[in-house]
């Protein structure tokens, strides 16, 4: 098990909704030192895959933003009434930490999404943001690996 887990989630058959999956897939291929999960939604059992990791990177499509962004995720129960079968990154992190008793550093990479029609493929805006996501998360992984080697 690698220290870092990349989780890309979304529906690749609904246009930009699958941006997180596409980005995570590319990151996973380019970085053998990370584990990668490509999911339609965040399911409760994904908590098991997070437990014991040093870091988890969630990558998701997001509406209402114009630019790619990265933000830390704090473990909280999630919305007051979650639909339960699909969790938020914060909720999943909370579930993982509560069940395993181990904390995991988490970030959420948000890819701006514009088009959710039926069909594969990304809008130009989401496609450009996916490229940026792959580059920035790749750099993050590389710098972290370098730091780990120095620390080691």
């Amino acid at each position: 098990m690698n220290d870092t887990l990349i989780i890309g989630f979304g529906n690749t058959l609904r246009g930009d909704d699958g941006a997180g999956v596409i980005a995570a897939g590319r990151i996973g291929k380019a970085n053998p030192a990370v584990d990668c999960l490509l999911l339609q939604e965040l399911y409760p059992e994904t908590a098991d895959a997070i437990a014991g990791r040093r870091r988890v990177v969630f990558i998701d499509a997001a509406v209402g933003i114009d630019a790619f962004s990265i933000e830390p995720v704090a473990a909280v129960p999630g919305p007051a009434r979650p639909s339960s079968h699909s969790l938020t990154p914060a909720g999943l992190l909370r579930l993982s930490e509560d069940l395993s008793g181990q904390s995991t550093e988490a970030i959420l990479a948000r890819i701006p999404a514009f088009r959710f029609d039926f069909g594969e493929g990304l809008s130009s805006g989401a496609g450009a943001a996916v490229d940026e996501c792959v580059a920035r998360i790749g750099s993050l992984i590389a710098s972290s690996s370098g730091r780990d080697r120095r620390d080691g």
Binding site: D17, E41, P44, E45, P77, R81, P82, F116
Partner: protein
């Protein structure tokens, strides 16, 4: 008092902790009596239409996309419709592998329903703070329960992933069999899960019996009415999940139609539409609409079968049947939950048997043939009930007509009846409380309806309750 100006509609939208999205409206007359209750399904998927013109061979992969929770059921039912079009008898190994995946599908879906969607109501109570009445609230005092539930579902998902290459939307089953044989090296890994899975189901069954006591006053109002029950049974009347013949039982436990070949389902079952819902309303034709209301799924399956061919599940089935008493059939929808757990136990026991079966590791997994028939009906017991895929093709295998009779739709009339019963019992038209509203939702959750989640853009599913006068004016609103 003018009835026209005082009739009201209470809207609960969207219903939470079910798969998909829906709303409930409760219609009141001028005296605040419940006159009607409707479970509206607002989603429109259109699979039946846009699959026309596609190749029959593509259908298992396409239809598995209908749902993220029960894709394996659509996959296998579609492949079975394809078997009929090819007119083949698939290899023994392929059938056993499909059976294994169907049981894994039951396990993961039922575990999700009980541990994650319904347990907050049971363990925290219908009147608990809605901010706490979710899986995180359960986690506070029942950590081991939650952990086991997650692992039980994971076990089901692991079986599906090992067989199909991925947890959801695998295109593994095809007309004529399956794409890949079972990787023998993973057999021990899966068998190692069995003891834990059995322990977890035992824990859940024990908890369920405590729940029956705890909610003894509520249970009689949770969809307790007469209806027919439909499902597949084996040739000898055993609980069946993959093949078999259709059996219909009435609310007194009498078998009123038996050994109906699935291919002839259209003669027995009609589908009505209503302008206020995208979900169709299937009914038993001889009794007409809506008298021909029937229920499918765990409650129906355990009512109609003569026995279960695994030892521990059969013991539990007998206890379940005892709930029927003089009625002859268990007519209360609350017991869907109990039946669901018994089915998980059956699934785990049966998977253990299949994994020990030498034929499961055979390598002949696909029969090949051309288009030999212009139509095919596939049927399977999905977690939520009997699932039909009915395809008509041209000589090249291009689909000219598609009809799918979905399990949740077949419970549509019963769900509406359940909402009406609960609303009548608990609502007085003046007081809207979280507990009352959640009981209405919980009534729907008995059926574990799957309205399909095509995008994950979820997160917030606020509860929106509206009191609307007959002229459409919103006179009160409650959101959380």
């Amino acid at each position: 008092m003018d009835k026209k100006t005082t009739s009201q509609v209470i809207t609960i939208e969207p219903v939470t902790r079910i798969e998909g999205h829906a709303k409930i409206t409760i219609h009141l007359d001028g005296k605040k009596n419940v006159t009607d209750a409707r479970f509206h399904v607002n989603e429109f998927r259109g699979f039946e239409k846009f699959c026309e013109g596609r190749l029959m061979w593509e259908m298992p992969g396409l239809t598995s996309r209908i749902c993220g929770i029960c894709p394996a059921s659509h996959l296998i039912t579609s492949a079975k419709a394809g078997d009929e079009i090819l007119t083949v008898s698939i290899p023994e190994t392929a059938e056993k592998l499909r059976r294994l995946m169907t049981l894994a599908q039951w396990t993961q879906s039922h575990a999700l329903s009980f541990f994650h969607l319904s347990s907050p109501d049971f363990l925290l109570g219908f009147d608990a703070d809605p901010a706490q009445r979710n899986i995180f609230g359960v986690l506070t005092d029942h950590k081991e329960f939650v952990r086991r539930g997650i692992r039980l579902r994971k076990f089901g998902q692991e079986v599906i992933e090992i067989l199909g290459g991925r947890k959801i939307h695998t295109p593994w089953a095809v007309a004529g069999g399956v794409r890949e044989p079972f990787d023998d090296s993973r057999k021990t890994y899966l068998l190692d899960w069995i003891p834990e899975a059995k322990q977890t189901v035992s824990l859940a069954l024990s908890t369920m019996k405590q729940i029956h006591t705890k909610f003894a006053k509520d249970i009689p109002n949770f969809g307790n009415f007469r209806s027919l029950f439909l499902g597949l049974v084996g040739k000898d009347g055993a609980l069946e999940y993959y093949d078999g013949l259709l059996r219909l039982m009435d609310s007194s436990g009498n078998v009123i139609a038996d050994k109906i070949p699935p291919r002839e389902y259209r003669a027995s079952f009609g589908e009505k539409t209503e302008p206020w819902s995208y979900l169709k309303f299937p009914y038993y034709r001889p009794l007409g609409y809506p008298k021909g209301m029937y229920r499918v799924g765990p409650l129906a399956r355990l009512n109609i079968c003569d026995y279960i061919d695994t030892p521990r599940a059969e013991e539990e089935r007998k206890l379940f049947k005892a709930l029927a008493g003089k009625a002859g059939a268990v007519n209360n929808s609350f017991y869907y939950h109990y039946a669901r757990l018994i089915e998980i136990l059956f699934a785990v026991e049966k998977m253990e048997m299949l994994l020990h079966d030498p034929a499961i590791t055979g390598t002949n997994v696909r029969a090949k043939a051309m288009i030999n028939r212009d139509s095919g009906v596939g049927v399977c017991e999905a977690p939520r009930g009997t699932l039909f895929h009915d395809y008509t093709v041209d000589q090249n295998g291009l689909l000219t007509k598609v009809n799918m009779l979905i399990a949740t739709a077949q419970n549509n009339l019963a769900m509406n009846r359940t909402v009406q019963q609960i609303a009548t019992q608990y609502l007085d038209g003046e007081k809207l409380t979280e507990g009352i509203l959640n009981r209405v939702e919980a009534g729907i959750r008995c059926y574990d309806p799957c309205l399909s989640c095509s995008t994950h853009a979820a997160g917030m599913m606020p509860l929106d309750v509206r009191l609307v006068a007959e002229d459409g004016t919103v006179i009160d609103r409650l959101t959380r």
